[in-house]
Amino acid sequence: MIDAARDLLDNYWVLMPVKVLAVLVLFLTFPLLVGYMEHKVMAHMQARLGPMEAGRFHGVLQLVADGIKFVQKESIIPRAADKWVFALAPAVALIPAILVFGFIPYGRDLVPIRSDVGLFVTLALSSVSVIGVLMAAWSSANKYSLMGGIRAAAQLIAYELPLVLAAAAVAMQAGSADLAVIVERQGWWGYIVGPLVIGFFVYGTAALAELTRPPFDMPVADSELVFGHLTEYTGLRFAFFLLTEYAGIVSQAAIAATLFLGGWKGPFLDGPWWLAAKVLALSFVVIWARSTYPRLREDQLQTFAWLRLVPVSLALLLVVGFLKVYEVGI
Amino acid sequence: MDADALRDHLVAELGDAVEPEVAYGTLTVTVAQDDWRRVAELAKRGPDLACNFFDFLCGVDEEADGIGVVLHVYSIPHRHHLQVRTVVPRDGGHLPTVSDLWAGANWHERETAELFGVGFDGHPNLAKLLLAEEFEGYPLRKEFALVTREAKPWPGAKEPGE
């Protein structure tokens, strides 16, 4: 019976749809879980309860209800807007976010797409959404959206550098850019024992900025720019942008866990559940940062990226390279 | 300085130009329209007066006498109040501005100009402040009636002022 299943799965044309389905299911469940977690965690940190009605038990079906609400809304495109660009912007932002889920190693042999340059493909995919943001901002024909979009573009480009440099330090340490191999070469405690812990913090901060999450959410500062590049979006398109944000949190958390925390490895019983636990823990920290911090002003944000994070990550690269060449074990 | 000492000081400085009056602890000096600027400058710059804090500037409808304008300033180092009052004619009444002495007078003069119809010479921007641009008339003058029962009378007890 199991042999029959194995033979079937050896066939590429059977395996591929199974993988696609698995990634899609993951993509549709984990971000919603993190979204629900955000509602509840933020609420309790603010001395209130959060969703309690939808789904009888403590509002578990709140996001499902939100999804249904978004789907049945009218599709409004402003008259002065550039129709095609406006309509395609959510897709350009969302599709790369889904694709990233295909490269993450979920277990010993559970990588949907295995590639020698998996790390750089994931980083490249996560930066395609900048184009989606710019498309949304420009085509909305709205001064507030435009200002939000310009701020977003500047911020996202600035924080790409520390992100990639910190990831490169890990690739150097592991000796490979293949995500599965990077996890293989780590102990269950990951790489955070040693100089790469700095890399973890740099990567985490840069990832927060890439996701435009507080304290880096100046582009969508709702007390200033209404909602930045998303001001004119309603209905399903808006829902896609929100989904991109939560999917981004999950995928960046997963990449960070894979690079620095040992991925699916644990002290006992390795498997995808460890990755899930690490992803949820990191998402909790992201939500915690949102509840706590006011937002950084745009120029403070840029100063932080260029004058603090970039030199630190360059120094980290030097240190890791040095240790690697002289074969000092980490 | 308390109100009486202040009054004596001002009478000594300005003589006949001022008519002082101390009511309920506040000194009010009434001056002629032409002395308005001079007294205001003395209030701000006179070392014993040093009224650097701007409280308000408002108009009071004095009916047959004209429109009264009251300026109230306060001195933070000396802790005394001073009210300067003058009366301008109802039609075409105007005064020199004091917004270069106290920046806060800028908005107060705009408000008095639109509500009472008093001009202020030398004011940088005497546009309407609280009222809509198309508004006609000077609402706080006594001949401008509150519109409620004018437009359409309705039954019931009248308000105390009607």
Partner: protein
Amino acid sequence: MATELGQGGVAFQAADGTGVGIIVRDKADRELHTQDMTLNVGPQHPATHGVLRVLVTLDGEVIEDAQPVIGYMHRSFEKLAEYRDYRQIIALVNRHDWVSSICNELGVAMVVERQMDLEVPERATWIRMLMAEWTRVLNHLMFVGSYPLELGAITPMFYAFREREEIQALMEWITGGRLHLTYCRVGGLKQDLPRGAIQMSRDLVPRMRERLKEYEDLVLGNEIFAARTKGIGVLPADVACSYGVSGALLQAAGVPEDSRKTEPYLFYDQVEFDVPTGRNGDCYDRYATLIARIRESLRIIEQVNERIPPGPVNVKLPKVVRAPQGHAYVRTEAPLGQLSYYMVSHNEKTPWRFKMRTPSFNNVSSLPYLLKGTLLPDMIAVMGSMFFIVGDIDR
């Protein structure tokens, strides 16, 4: 802050010393043609509390000029006051600063009593002080919560409103209202305190004090909050006095001017409290002064709780209350600043002229001075730190 370089270029530096940029201006001999953008902030905008509109001329992200446009909430209180008797005017002025209603009413009652030479019973005066200080705490808590919200910190708002709910429960018990209390009357108060109200007031004070520490740790101690507010929107003391800016804004500029101390009314000269002052007059100092003022108010409340004597709370008034011919002036320290009333009476049921000098009117008139040369995100920080209520500006 912008400084002109040669050949029409301008270097600008953000107020806290970070960020230097060069902007090429719209000059005829330059090849790059730029134009100033006029942005309308409000009247419907999440950052402005209520219907305040600011016409901002922008050069990139630097504000060249900012003109507040007010009057969207003008309800002609001064004209109405000429047609209403004194009890009705008390109900009317509740609506200036609708977050702290007693403090508005107090001035009206005081100016009429002053002109009529009415003696207010001691118990009424002490209770008026108690209510005024609790409403001051209510008002300050509102801004303690909403200012971080404008900068992006969403949590202090909920904590501040949790505190406000507890105080409003006390207010509702005593007066029957949560927002517009109409509790003062000419000659005293509407009714006496219910039994147990003082005890509830006593219990609330230590709870509020302990929660104030949370705000200091969570907000004042936050590096990002400090980076966003230190050195931003500096209002020097002499400019503030010239504009007539008062209250926490003036105290943050370093001037310890507080009507309760310099010209004590009610029984403020019989209780001990300090007037906190800031050093720089920037947004951070204004916020810190607000929290310090709440502390001082709690100190006053503690003392007043123990000193309320038994007795009547109002005097017998004639059937028709008339203020004699003449004019009177009263100034009180409302939570937002100095609130003065100037009343001219011709011995009638209604006043001849009732001037209401509200604090936010003068505070907001200093916005053009403060906003010139700042960056757009700093505009939100500065406007929020003005602590104004639009009803107070427009009356």
